[in-house]
Amino acid sequence: MAKTVEGLYYSESHEWVKVEGNVAVVGITDFAQHAMGDLSYVDMPEVDDELEAGEEFGAVESVKAASDLFSPVSGTVVEINEELEDAPELLNQDAFANWIMKVEMSDPSELEALMDAAAYEEMCANE
């Protein structure tokens, strides 16, 4: 059973958001890494990229397939987790401890459209 973490926001496309002030720390969920299997590449956004909520910002890739990543919030990318460029397997080891990007939010009210852990778990149970 894939785990979730309380206190985070979750998107329908299996990203999680941890809020630190005005910054959204974004990663993929344990459910997502489990569904993808061993990851061999993370296609990262670049710092200063302007993202709209719901916009594709990169991808995670296993041997077999690529899965697009969608930004849960609008804003500007302020930092990316460069560790993942050489070690995508970190997402398999702990999807919640290894974030992908940090976004300076332009509209924090967008967080209200995301799910909490309980609602996300329910959605996954029905997939």
Binding site: G37, D38, S40, Y41, D43, E56, G58, A59, E61, S62, V63, K64, A65, A66, D68, E85
Partner: protein, 362 residues
């Protein structure tokens, strides 16, 4: 959807092993048992086994068998010795590909076995029957009565001889086979490693699977079958070959004997060769770790000049590589091209289509 999918005789074994099952070529097939990388490495370093019972077997026999097979097959079966195997294609009159296949010269006169892709069994059988008009031959689709295991890897010979008790296997040269007790043992494969493809009844195939499993041979799914054949430069119908691609464009002209004999599609290939190819299949290596995948555009100066047909982060070489069908002007080795991957373009250079040195027994 799922209820229309065919099951191979080893279906229950895959389910019992907890394989991830997925549709392929009309069958429900194992994609992986553990993960693709471990299964891939098992074949490269030790021995792996694949359920390839979904492949099709069509027998052709009768007084005109040699003449007929040579009429539909791009390679030349004239004078082929018993126990020999040839790779080649069946072509449409316009030179594009009906299927790629192996032809086994049987140990009886005027008798051949054609081994074809699962997804094309019905199409190939119909094609052969339509072409057979005027030839004194009998074309029989035997696919339902054969099971097949591909035993592949450097330890394959030891397992064939010791684990399965098939001492004759050790003496087989590459692309030869023997028949015994209703079974075919063939030194062929689709991985770039030494190995065997063993055809037998459903019952015998099930026994062999259990015996090999107990001896530590790693069950391998179609996931690593694709990464292995791709690294070895072997084409997959529907990707590197199709009803829109000729063998010349695919870089497989050596299997189309246009100088030696006539066959369906030959005239089109001769004309294509005389006119000059407009596109060709090449390898491309990226400098970046980004992974080129089937369908991604190949570009030069922002203009599309081709399309990726298969691509991976190659497991055995840890390089991002692909095979692509590219406009002829960009097919010289070392040519700089770009591949569009989602929003970005990544520089790459044209290479050979084989990314891994094969280890066949000669």
């Amino acid at each position: 959807m799922e209820e229309n999918l065919l099951k191979t005789c080893l279906y229950d074994k895959h389910v019992a092993l907890g394989a991830l099952m997925s549709p392929f070529g009309g069958f429900i097939m194992p994609i992986q048992y553990t993960n693709i990388t471990d299964e891939h490495n098992a074949v490269r370093n030790r021995a792996g086994m694949f359920d390839v019972s979904h492949m099709g077997e069509i027998s052709v026999c009768g007084p005109d068998a040699e003449k007929f097979v040579n009429h539909v097959f791009s390679n030349n079966v004239a004078g082929m010795e018993d126990g020999r195997i040839l790779y080649g294609m069946m072509l449409y009159p316009n030179g594009t590909t009906v299927d790629d296949l192996l032809v086994y010269k049987e140990f009886e006169p005027d008798s051949y076995l054609l081994v074809v892709n699962a997804s094309n069994i019905a199409k190939d059988h119909e094609w052969l029957c339509a072409q057979a008009e005027g030839y004194d031959v009998n074309v029989v689709n035997e696919s339902d009565s054969w099971g097949q295991i591909a035993l592949q890897g450097p330890d394959a010979e030891r397992h064939a001889v010791e684990t399965l008790g098939l001492p004759e296997a050790a003496a087989l040269g590459f692309y030869t086979y023997y028949r015994k007790d209703g079974m075919i043992v063939s030194r062929t494969g689709y991985t770039g490693e030494d190995g065997f493809e063993i055809y037998a009844s459903h019952e015998v195939i099930n026994e062999m699977w259990d015996t090999l499993l107990a001896a530590g041979v790693v069950p391998c799914g179609l996931g690593c079958r694709d990464t292995l054949r791709f690294e070895a430069g072997l084409p997959l119908y529907g990707h590197e070959l199709s009803d829109e691609i000729t063998p010349l464009e695919a870089g497989l002209g050596m299997f189309a004997k246009i100088k030696d004999k006539d066959f369906v599609g030959r005239d089109a290939l001769v004309a294509q060769k005389e006119a000059g190819l407009t596109r060709k299949s090449v390898g491309i290596e990226l400098q970046d770790k980004a992974i080129p995948r089937a369908g991604y555009p190949v570009e030069v100066d922002g203009v599309q000049v081709g399309v990726v047909t298969t691509g991976y982060r190659s497991i055995s070489t840890d390089r991002s590589v692909c095979v692509a069908m590219v406009d002829k002007a960009y097919t010289e080795l070392g040519t700089q091209v770009e591949i569009r991957i989602r929003k970005k373009v990544f520089p790459g250079i044209v290479t050979r289509r084989r990314f891994y040195e094969t280890n066949y027994k000669k």
